[in-house]
Subunit: 129 residues, 2 copies
DNA sequence: CTAGAAGTTCAACAATGGTTGAAGTCAAGC
DNA sequence: GCTTGACTTCAACCATTGTTGAACTTCTAG
């Protein structure tokens, strides 16, 4: 029933690095920290699969949002090995939510800053009338 | 003409730490990295002055905005030793500008994320019609 | 004057996010 | 079958932002 299986293309570290724009050393780093997963050839070389290209790109996006590697591992852990369109969208929503949260936080700081004296009560004028 | 000089109060590391909510070790760290300046007693102990309390608090605010120690050193370097109200306001504006910039950046990421396929082109559906 | 609190320096450690280099192995084309 | 490029692991190193502890000194109150 599985017509023309297409032999799921597998990518070497270098392939994934080129495809995702992430350095090979970073790819390995992400793997040892559980953000990416690979299978191994009989010769112990990593082989990644297509969705990992997307995963790798998303790691970078998530980092721009300010998420730590640990946090990214957490949200990527919820992504199935072979994600559906919906899975990807859910992930995007998760990250977008985080981004919005960080924006809120920054806005709060901004308010503290611009609300005048809250930044720091100024030293009293020494010429007390 | 300088009536009642009021002997400019000077603060120890501990005083500054308590007044600003920054740990003594952090105060020393900031001093060695040029964010804070002190004079020394004949016995080599640091003595800070009032405006340093404000400086220390501002360092924390700037960090919440996402500025690095090096960046904060840069903007604090422009602040006079004994800042006027205007100087503080200028500083606040500088930091607020940075905060707005970071917010813009985050919004851009957010757009990339929410604009669907830009996050990462999804793998083509295997049931090509 | 002296005890104790608080200060000093310096080095080491920690977590985060990787990069770099050494030494060795695998895979692919000719 | 051999060469060459790409892969492997591991340890060391980098920058950043501090904290902690040891060993020693200073300050202040009684």
């Amino acid at each position: 029933m599985t017509g023309s299986v297409t032999a799921q293309p597998s990518l070497t570290v270098g392939d994934l690095a080129r495809a995702s724009g992430v350095a090979p050393s970073a790819v390995r780093f992400y793997e040892t920290h559980g953000l990416l997963t690979s299978e191994r050839t009989p010769g112990n070389q990593r082989r990644f699969r297509e969705p990992d290209v997307c995963r790798a790109k998303i790691i970078r996006v998530a980092q721009r949002v300010g998420l730590s590697v640990a946090e990214i591992r957490g949200i990527l852990a919820e992504l199935p090995t072979d994600p559906s369109l919906h899975d990807w969208q859910h992930l995007a929503t998760r990250i977008a939510t985080e981004a919005n949260y960080r924006i809120q936080q920054l806005r709060r700081v901004l308010e503290d800053i611009t609300s005048g004296q809250k930044l720091c009560e100024l030293p009293p004028d020494d010429r007390t009338p």
